[in-house]
Structure formats: structure tokens, C-alpha cells
């Protein structure tokens, strides 16, 4: 991601007209943004918030138009930080510059609620254009809006657009250009209104008396807005079906939201998604990792001139870190694609509805499902996604539970350990860890609600607009996946590679006499000593080994480095070097270690290791975001609680497992 903490104007070229895309959630606004801007996009935070805005450039002939994709909102009367940002930007309040044109994306299948937002945007005084999407969905539900009548009744230009195919985009461009050209005749009626000036328009014409070309209603009260909405809707859809037409989405929902089938289907979808990432990702991860640790490392060791420590630093430190980062790319890409399919297909909203009851038991409502599901993709954006929740206390509660969702970085450890110790049922073991992750979220939420969150009431309604189901589009999904993976490589990649270099340096520094830098037995290095000091704490979990301790310690920075740190430890330890080169399998090295640390109960120790990795602090980036959103006290407290829970669970699993195996 780029340009975080910048104001929108900072990312749009000077003199470039700013076009804001405003609309209800799932109205097709972001799809339209992607279609218009192509790959010319960046992500930024609204000033002083963690609410993300996407900016891009729309090239029309020789002209460049700046695009800002605002958070989806039902109203400019905000009830969440995201809605606040959308409302402020459209009206040009605070540090945000008013856009030159607001394109209000109207969901053709949900015109009533879309028109309410249109009415409010018109009141801001920003030049307005309406782009109607989802006409195919509306048609499947027996509704065909008359767009000419809609434009005449609403007194705003209206164009039909299909963001998924690009149909109507040229017409949208012409309409935007026309509005920009006519902008000189606009006024700041909204400013007059906020200043207490009177503004009476009952026929759509602006009554400011300045001859401006403002259009749309000047409605002051909710009741007036609703009346205007009903009037415009009646003009656009004069003969709606007396009863709703059952659409394909309705037929699918009959199964997917069924009282008895909904939850099993939801669980099956989750299981299929992660089985896919496990089965398909493993050989890809192995292939990338093997390339870096095998032929490339061997060639570089021979090709780099100078003393041995130079090639050691570059190959065992830097290259190992880079290889570790890049080996995650196929895994993360698969997870992001899987989540994209859920989102783009329209199922994610259903998942929130299905999960509502379970989340209410822990003081949350179904809307918390979105950040929690995103947490399974990455905890950091999940922390950001909590900002969409309107209630601060529930937002905090969700933010404290997000680290318990198992992100793909942890999956690399699961795959290694499950593939080694449970080769015949690795997929089931990994799935079981995801189920355990869900259980921890529920139990953690319940515990918090019984202690620090007793004030939470269970009265907040869950009302979700259900988007129609769509076949996910491959191209924008791949584009989005690329953006997210690149952001991971740029952001977390530096931390990961840097951490592994530090680990190598610590391992190269002797702490006893008689050794040279980069030529020291591991146990005599600073790295080995730190790990030796930590290892006894893990003894009750059957994990009393310096390599395990060091991997878990470096994993505090980012879970992605756990496997890399383990591999580096084994390749660095002279006692293990022969065996490592003989079979080349990290898993076998790990089995040997755990057999020794657990008195022969390696399987129980492996499970304890997996549970510890699942439950303890996900990464520094998540902690940093947690601190930024909720403050230092909550972030530090959360880290302490997570480490305690992880240790207790690991000890419990090992002690029970030892009795059973």
C-alpha cells in the first residue's frame, strides 16, 4: 500500500479534477472504480483515521481525471468512521477538499435506499451525477427503471453503467465532462444552508437567486427526503411488481440461508477454502523455498568473493529472508483470491447473517464477521475493517479477538508440522486448527464479555442489504490480489528479511572466548544464548529446545519467519548440518528435535507447538495497528493475554496428549 496518511488531494495530480464515487455498500462502486482506473490505483488513509480511501486516475483521451472511491454508506448521517469520512469528503468538511463532481452510484435493484443517499449528496452543493448499476439484477427481479424519467424527476444527469463489462463507461465520461464544463455556474448553496441561509426549492430549481445550475432536491428533513425519494421512485418505476419476483439469488438463498442448512453450508465453504489453500499451496511454497535454499544458495556461496562471513551474511541471512518472503507469495495469493471470491460472489454478506447468532453470544453482531473473516486473510486489514462497526465498544472487542483468527502466515507452520507428523491427515489437522481458531474467538469473546465488556447490551439490530449473487470476475480479482500481495512483500517483507538478517548476525556474534565472528558454534553465539534462556519456559509444553524457542521468539515479529528461522537454525547448527544435508527435510529435523524434547511424545509436542503458534501474538504489524486504533494499554494487555493463553493451551495439549500417546 502506498500514500497512507496522505490527504486525497496529495495523491491526485495538481489541477486534476477530483471525481468522488459515492454509493451504498455493494452498489458496484468499487467495481466501477476498478474499471475506470485500471491499474492506476493507490491506497491512502483519510486524514487522522484508519479509514482507507482508494484513489486512481481515469484517463479519457488526453485528459486525466482523479478518482476517489469513498467507503460505502447508506446515508450522509454517519454512524461509523467510514461513513463519517464519506460524508465529510462529499461535503468538503475538515481537511478534505470538496470533489469537483460526485458520481452517486445507484443500485438499480435497490433504488429506494440509493435515492435517499442521492438526495443527501445533492444537498451538499457538490455537482452530482447518478450512475445506475445492477440493472440486470433489477430486471431479474421484475423491475426496469426508466432512467429518463429518473433524471427528470431527480433533476440530475443519469447514465446507465455496467461496471463489470464496462458498458456505459463512455457515456459516463461524457456526462462527467459536461458537468465539469458547466461547473462554473454552480453555487455553494449547502454552505448557505449551514450558515443559516434560507434555500427553498420545491421544483428542483435552485432558489439561491444567483442563477446557478444546482440541481436536485433541497430537502431539509428526513420526512421531506423520504417524500422526495418516493416521488422520484414512482417516476422511475411507475409499475413495480405487486409481489417480488423470485430471482436466482432468492433461490440460492433458500438453501444458503436455510434455518438448518445455512450453518453447515457456511462451515463447508470455509473448510473448502482452506483445504484448497493447503493442498494447492504446499507444493508451490515448497518449490519456491527449495529454489532459494537449494541451487541459488549453492551457486551464490561459490560466486560471492571475499571472506566467508560475507557470503554467509548474504546467502544465509539476506537470501534466506528474501526466499522466505517470496515463498509466501503463492500461499497469500490463493487466500486473497479465495476471500475475493467470497466477497465478489455476494456470499460474504450471507456469511455475516448466518454467523450473527454465534457472534451475539459473545457480545458482537453479524457485522463483526467481516473483520473476523478478513482476519483469516491477514490480521492487519482485519484490524482496519473493525472501523466499519458503528459501536466503539464492540469495535474494541472485535479488535481484541482478531489476533485469534488464524492468518495465512501461521498456515506455513501448520503445513510444515502437520505434513511431518500427520502426513495422512494433514488437511484435517490444518482444518482443525482453523476450527480451534474459531472456538478461541468465541471463548475469548465470551470471557471478555463476562469481564471487561459487561456493559455491552445485545440490542443493536443487524440489518444487512443482500447483494445479488454474481459470478466472480477473474481479472479485477487478480489485480486486487496482486496489489495486496505486493503490499505484503513491500511491508511485511522488509520486516521479515530484516529479522532474519538480525537472527543471522546474532548467530554470528560469539559470546565466549576463542571464536571468530561468523565462525562460532550456535550455542556460543548471542542467538543461541537468548534462545537457551527462553527454552526452559516451554518445557511443560514439551518444547524445551533452543531452536524452537528462537523460532517462536522471532515469530513475535512476524509469523512468516517461524519456518525460516527454524530452517536457518538447523542449517547453522554444526551438530545438525550433516543430517540436514543428508535428507534435506526440515520436517525430519523437527521430528528428531521434538522426540528428544518430549521424551518420545513427539506427536503431542507437535500439537502443542501448533496450538502455541495459533494462539500467541500474530505479528508486530498487528500489534502496531491495535495500538494505533485502541491505544497502548489495550495493545500491551492483549499481547500479555495472548502469550499467557498460548502457553496454557500448549501445556494443556502436551500434557493431555502425552497421556494418550
Amino acid at each position: 500500500m502506498s500514500c497512507h496518511d496522505a490527504a486525497p488531494g496529495a495523491t491526485l495530480a495538481t489541477g486534476t479534477p477530483a471525481i468522488a464515487l459515492v454509493g451504498n455498500p455493494n452498489a458496484g462502486k468499487s467495481t466501477l472504480f476498478n474499471t475506470l482506473s485500471g491499474a492506476r490505483q493507490s491506497v491512502m488513509n483519510a486524514p487522522g483515521t484508519t479509514v482507507e480511501l482508494q484513489t486512481g486516475t481515469w484517463r479519457r483521451g488526453g485528459r486525466r481525471l482523479g478518482l476517489v472511491d469513498l467507503p460505502g454508506t447508506y446515508s450522509l448521517t454517519p454512524r461509523s468512521p467510514d461513513e463519517q469520512v464519506a460524508a465529510d469528503y462529499v461535503a468538503g468538511r475538515g481537511d478534505l477538499a470538496r470533489p469537483d463532481v460526485a458520481v452517486v452510484v445507484l443500485d438499480g435493484s435497490a433504488l429506494a435506499r440509493s435515492l435517499y443517499l442521492l438526495a443527501q449528496v445533492c444537498e451538499t452543493g457538490t455537482p452530482v451525477l447518478a450512475a445506475v448499476t445492477m440493472l440486470d439484477v433489477a430486471s431479474s427481479r421484475g423491475v426496469t427503471p426508466d432512467l429518463d424519467a429518473l433524471a427528470a424527476a431527480a433533476q440530475v444527469p443519469v447514465v446507465a453503467v455496467d461496471p463489470r463489462t464496462g458498458a456505459g463507461v463512455e457515456g459516463l465520461g461524457v456526462a462527467v465532462e459536461a458537468l465539469l464544463g458547466a461547473r462554473a455556474g454552480t453555487c455553494d448553496c449547502a454552505q448557505d444552508e449551514t450558515d443559516g441561509g434560507a434555500r427553498a426549492r420545491d421544483d428542483g430549481a435552485c432558489a439561491c437567486g444567483r442563477g446557478c445550475s444546482c440541481s436536485g432536491p433541497a430537502v431539509r428533513s428526513d420526512e421531506e427526503r423520504f417524500a422526495w425519494t418516493e416521488r422520484v421512485l414512482a417516476a422511475a418505476v411507475p409499475a413495480p411488481p405487486a409481489v417480488p419476483v423470485r430471482s436466482t439469488s432468492d433461490r440460492l438463498d433458500r438453501v444458503l440461508l436455510h434455518p438448518w442448512l445455512g450453518v453447515p453450508v457456511f462451515l463447508a465453504v470455509m473448510w473448502a477454502m482452506f483445504e484448497l489453500t493447503t493442498v494447492v499451496a504446499t507444493p508451490l511454497v515448497d518449490a519456491v523455498g527449495s529454489f532459494f535454499s537449494g541451487p541459488l544458495a549453492t551457486w551464490l556461496h561459490g560466486a560471492i568473493p571475499g571472506p566467508a562471513w560475507v557470503s554467509g551474511l548474504l546467502v544465509d541471512g539476506v537470501l534466506s529472508g528474501v526466499g522466505t518472503v517470496l515463498s509466501f507469495v503463492p500461499l497469500l495469493a490463493l487466500v486473497f483470491v479465495a476471500i475475493g471470491i467470497l466477497e465478489d460472489s455476494g456470499y460474504l454478506a450471507r456469511a455475516a447473517f448466518v454467523a450473527d447468532r454465534a457472534l451475539r453470544a459473545i457480545g458482537l453482531d453479524g457485522r463483526a464477521m467481516v473483520p473476523l473473516v478478513i482476519g483469516f486473510g491477514c490480521n492487519v486489514p482485519a484490524m482496519v475493517a473493525t472501523r466499519t462497526m458503528p459501536d466503539a465498544r464492540r469495535r474494541l472487542l472485535t479488535g481484541l479477538l482478531v489476533p485469534l483468527t488464524s492468518c495465512p502466515a501461521r498456515l506455513t507452520v501448520y503445513v510444515l508440522v502437520a505434513g511431518t507428523f500427520f502426513p495422512q491427515s494433514a488437511g484435517t489437522v490444518v482444518f482443525g486448527l482453523y476450527v480451534l481458531s474459531g472456538v478461541l474467538v468465541i471463548l475469548g469473546g465470551y470471557a471478555l464479555r463476562m469481564t471487561a465488556f459487561r456493559d455491552l447490551r445485545q440490542t443493536r439490530p443487524l440489518v444487512l442489504a443482500l447483494p445479488a449473487y454474481h459470478v466472480p470476475r477473474l481479472r479485477p480479482m487478480l489485480r486486487s490480489t496482486w496489489t495486496r500481495v505486493a503490499a505484503f512483500v513491500r511491508g511485511a517483507g522488509g520486516i521479515i528479511a530484516g529479522t532474519l538478517v538480525v537472527v543471522w548476525l546474532l548467530s554470528a556474534i560469539p559470546v565466549t572466548a576463542g571464536h571468530a565472528v561468523a565462525d562460532v558454534p550456535v550455542h556460543d553465539s548471542a542467538y543461541g544464548r537468548v534462545a537457551d534462556a527462553v527454552a526452559p519456559v516451554l518445557a511443560p509444553a514439551g518444547l524445551d529446545d533452543w531452536r524452537i524457542a528462537s523460532a517462536l521468539t522471532t515469530g513475535f515479529v512476524a509469523k512468516e519467519v517461524v519456518v525460516g528461522a527454524l530452517a536457518q537454525s538447523y542449517s547453522l547448527d554444526p551438530a545438525d548440518a550433516g543430517a540436514a544435508s543428508a535428507d534435506g527435510a526440515l520436517g525430519n529435523q523437527l521430528r528428531t528435535t521434538l522426540t528428544a524434547t518430549s521424551d518420545g511424545h513427539a506427536t503431542a509436542a507437535a500439537l502443542a507447538f501448533l496450538v502455541f503458534v495459533l494462539a500467541y501474538t500474530p505479528c508486530l504489524a498487528t500489534v502496531a495497528e491495535q495500538r494505533r486504533v485502541f491505544g497502548t494499554r489495550w495493545a500491551v494487555g492483549a499481547v500479555g493475554v495472548q502469550l499467557t493463553i498460548a502457553w496454557l493451551l500448549a501445556v494443556g495439549v502436551f500434557q493431555v496428549g502425552r497421556l494418550l500417546t
Binding site: 447508506y74 446515508s75 448521517t77 454512524r79 443500485d107 435493484s109 435497490a110 433504488l111 429506494a112 435506499r113 435517499y116 439484477v137 433489477a138 427481479r141 421484475g142 423491475v143 428526513d222 423520504f226 421512485l233 418505476v237 413495480p240 411488481p241 405487486a242 409481489v243 417480488p244 419476483v245 423470485r246 439469488s249 432468492d250 438463498d253 433458500r254 440461508l257 436455510h258 434455518p259 438448518w260 445455512g262 450453518v263 454478506a349 450471507r350 447473517f353 448466518v354 450473527d356 447468532r357 451475539r360 453482531d365 453479524g366 445485545q458 440490542t459 443493536r460 439490530p461 443487524l462 440489518v463 444487512l464 442489504a465 443482500l466
Partner: protein
């Protein structure tokens, strides 16, 4: 009666909404206003309902459905 008691396929008119002002306002923005005619499309777990407001579809949890009073109009779904 309240919305939670309505079977799938029925058309109802919203009579009253017993929620606090902010939540009631959000429901009104979404089209669930007193006097609005809505249709129950699906019954979901724990009293939840999927309703049609025009061609729009809204999923509402059971607890909220219990706060929405309705008057049945018909039992039909095309």
C-alpha cells in the same frame, strides 16, 4: 404481530418500529418505514427474516424482527 412471526411468502405493512432513534432512522433509510409494504422472502435461523423492499433484499436478525410490528396483507410470491 411482529415480523418474526411472519412466514415466508407473506406481504405485510410495517406498522411500528420499536428501536432507539438512531437505529430506527437507519431502518427508515433502508426503506423499513411505517406504512411501507414489504414481503417476507425467507425465514432463517433464530427468527431471522429476509425481506423484499421493492426489488431490494434485506436480511434482519430475529431480535430486530421482534421490534418491527406489521400488518399482514397477503400471502403470495411470484
Amino acid at each position: 404481530m411482529d415480523l418474526r412471526l411472519c412466514p415466508a411468502g407473506t406481504s405485510v405493512e410495517v406498522s411500528w418500529v420499536e428501536l432507539d432513534d438512531a437505529e430506527r432512522a437507519r431502518l427508515r433509510e433502508l426503506g423499513l418505514r411505517e406504512g411501507a409494504v414489504v414481503h417476507v422472502v425467507h425465514c432463517s435461523a433464530f427468527g431471522g427474516r429476509v425481506i423484499a423492499v421493492g426489488s431490494d433484499r434485506l436480511a434482519i436478525d430475529g431480535r430486530t424482527c421482534a421490534c418491527i410490528g406489521v400488518t399482514p396483507l397477503a400471502a403470495a410470491l411470484a
